[in-house]
């Protein structure tokens, strides 16, 4: 069930990127899109009956910590992408006077 919700989020993000003309909204869509994959990684790391992976004497089943660490890297990448996109949008606004992709006239 969680995976279905997760994939819905994935598709919503993709839809926004494809459908929207406003570049800021597109960046938001991209963030939703990326976050859904991050959540997917967190979902697969859950082990049934597992506890947070801190070694203790009375526990033997732990959740998988590796996906969390991987996603930390991916989040950094996503932040870099977002900031680069926003920087580009500022320059687009300066140059064309609009951030609506459809209104930009390349003549």
């Amino acid at each position: 069930m969680l995976y279905v919700l997760n994939m819905t989020l994935f598709l919503i993000g993709l839809f926004i990127i494809v459908r929207e003309s406003n570049l800021i909204k597109k960046v938001i869509g991209l963030n939703i899109f990326q976050s859904s994959v991050f959540i997917f990684y967190i979902l697969i790391s859950k082990v049934e009956g597992g506890v947070p992976p801190i070694i203790s004497a009375d526990q033997s089943i732990y959740s998988n910590p590796l996906p969390h660490v991987l996603i930390l890297t991916a989040i950094v990448v996503s932040i870099a992408t977002t900031s680069l996109a926003l920087a580009l949008i500022i320059r687009i606004k300066d140059k064309y006077g609009t951030i609506e992709e459809d209104d930009i006239d390349l003549g």
Partner: protein, 491 residues
């Protein structure tokens, strides 16, 4: 010797923050050149070692395989590594005079830093043995390439960079999700380990889903036919030297990922044979080759024409891979290198001559044959290579592709390859006719072509002829690689 793979990545990586502090254009440029040159020597040493004694594995931090991250320099890696770094070096050498005219002076040092980072990303993708690491390096190269593209002052540049950012990120996220699914099935990220465990994992629909995502992601990166839109725009609107660099490298990286993932890692489940996936890609690429050659014939702008021609040539490469026979793989590997050299040369000549020009249309080439006799004879030879006429390397790769096709069950496709070759002849001939037979009324001053730029262009031309006459270098290595992949002994 064992340390070389990590040095290739860390040397330029360590240099980048230092360059950020130095900022003086001349010093930054010199240091970039020096480190690129050191890299090439390291890579050649590594290549020779790998060719003679087999692949070299470097364990990061001394952690053994399934837990730690490894770098794996095998023959395929070294093959790609060599030509990517040589092309990057040649472009860097000739870049200095060109970018002065195109990029704001304050940004030039950042431009070189981004260039280095981009090249680190490419080298990392090729060297790594960890599939998540591959994603990280992919993003390193993509992020810096968005920056490189956005630096030109064409009217459409910023929008092209923005659109490439969106489509590139979508591709990367697809690959990330696919990696996640594969990880959930096998519990490993190491490529060798994954290759073993994927065969034992229970087959399920989600693996097919992952394959689809991977294909889409890789297709975007390698500009596989219906996903090639970004390539035309970025090639047309990027700074001309960046176009030159990317024409030879960035799409080839997509081809590398395709080979590595589908033919190496997932080899044990034969992913390309599900639901006729290989045939599907084959037909799509064939259509792509035909249509993009048609578009190239119709183009008025030289850069766009060459960009469409790139899409067509990538189509040949993909077709040859999808034949799924060793000869096909050999042919595609040969064509990867030959096409890189030819296309880089052609773009470089355009970049060197039209330093300021916004959009180079075909008429602009009129009468250049008299002004730049040596450059234009290089252009002529490289053009012949693009068509695939004898004595150039293009002939060799076309020959291998057609032979491979005749050996496979798709012999009738050779007609389309021959047909598109004739169409290539028609658009290259339009350029050559303008250069040599049209007269030019306006006499613009002749640009000073520096000796370094001349050296790079002549090197690329000589390489084209050399690889056309002495084929044992590329085809020998390519045959070795494809024997490894389809090996009789089994991988």
């Amino acid at each position: 010797m064992n340390q070389i793979p990590i040095l290739i990545i860390t040397l330029p990586l360590l240099l980048t923050p230092i360059l950020l502090l130095i900022r003086k254009i001349n010093i930054v440029y010199a240091l970039t050149l020096i480190v690129s040159f050191i890299n090439i020597s390291l890579i050649l040493a590594l290549g020779a070692e790998v060719y003679n004694n087999g692949s070299i594995i470097y364990e990061l931090g001394g952690w053994p395989a399934p837990i730690g991250i490894r770098l794996n320099a095998d023959l395929l890696s070294c093959y790609f590594l060599t030509f990517i770094n040589v092309i990057s070096f040649l472009c860097l050498v000739s870049s200095k005079d060109i970018i002065k005219h195109q990029i704001h002076e304050d940004n030039i040092y950042l431009f070189y830093i981004a260039w280095l980072l981009c090249n680190i990303g490419f080298s990392g993708i090729v060297l790594t043995d960890d599939i998540f690491n591959l994603f990280v390096f992919l993003e390193i190269s993509s992020l810096s390439s968005y920056f490189l593209i956005s630096q030109a002052n064409y009217k459409g540049t910023l929008l092209a960079a923005m659109q490439y950012l969106f489509i590139g990120s979508i591709g990367a996220v697809f690959i990330l999700l696919a990696i996640g699914i594969l990880y959930a099935h096998t519990g490993t990220l190491n490529m060798h380990d994954l290759a073993m465990k994927i065969g034992q994992a229970k087959f399920s629909e989600s693996i097919v889903f992952a394959l689809g995502l991977l294909l889409a992601g890789v297709g975007i990166k390698s500009a596989l036919f219906p996903l090639h839109g970004w390539l035309i725009k970025t090639y047309a609107y990027a700074p001309s030297i960046v176009t030159t660099y990317f024409a030879g490298t960035s799409t080839k990286i997509g081809v590398y990922i395709l080979l590595r993932v589908f033919l190496d890692i997932l080899n044990s489940i034969n992913p390309l044979e599900y639901y006729g996936l290989a045939q599907f890609i084959l037909f799509i690429s064939l259509l792509g080759v035909f249509l993009s050659t048609l578009y190239a014939v119709k183009q008025k702008e030289v850069k766009k024409m060459l960009a469409y021609s790139s899409v067509a040539q990538l189509g040949y490469i993909i077709i040859a891979i999808m034949l799924l026979i060793p000869d096909g793989l050999t042919a595609s590997l040969i064509h990867v290198v030959n096409h890189s050299i030819i296309k880089t040369g052609l773009f470089l000549i355009i970049a060197v001559i039209f330093i300021n020009n916004q959009n180079v249309i075909i008429e602009d080439l009129s009468g250049l044959g008299k002004k730049y006799p040596i450059l234009m004879s290089c252009f002529f030879i490289l053009g012949l290579g693009l068509i695939g006429l004898p004595i150039t390397s293009g002939f060799i790769s076309k020959w291998y592709i057609i032979t491979a096709m005749l050996k496979s069950e798709y012999w009738y496709f050779t007609f389309i390859v021959l047909l598109t070759s004739f169409m290539t002849l028609s658009y290259v001939w339009v350029l050559i006719e303008k250069i040599y037979f049209a007269t030019n009324d306006n006499d613009d001053a002749i640009n000073n072509i520096s000796i370094y730029q001349m050296f790079c262009i002549i090197t690329l031309t000589v390489m084209t002829i050399y690889l056309g006459l002495e084929t044992s270098l590329t085809s020998g290595i390519a045959e070795n690689i494809s024997n490894d992949f389809y090996g009789v002994t089994g991988k």
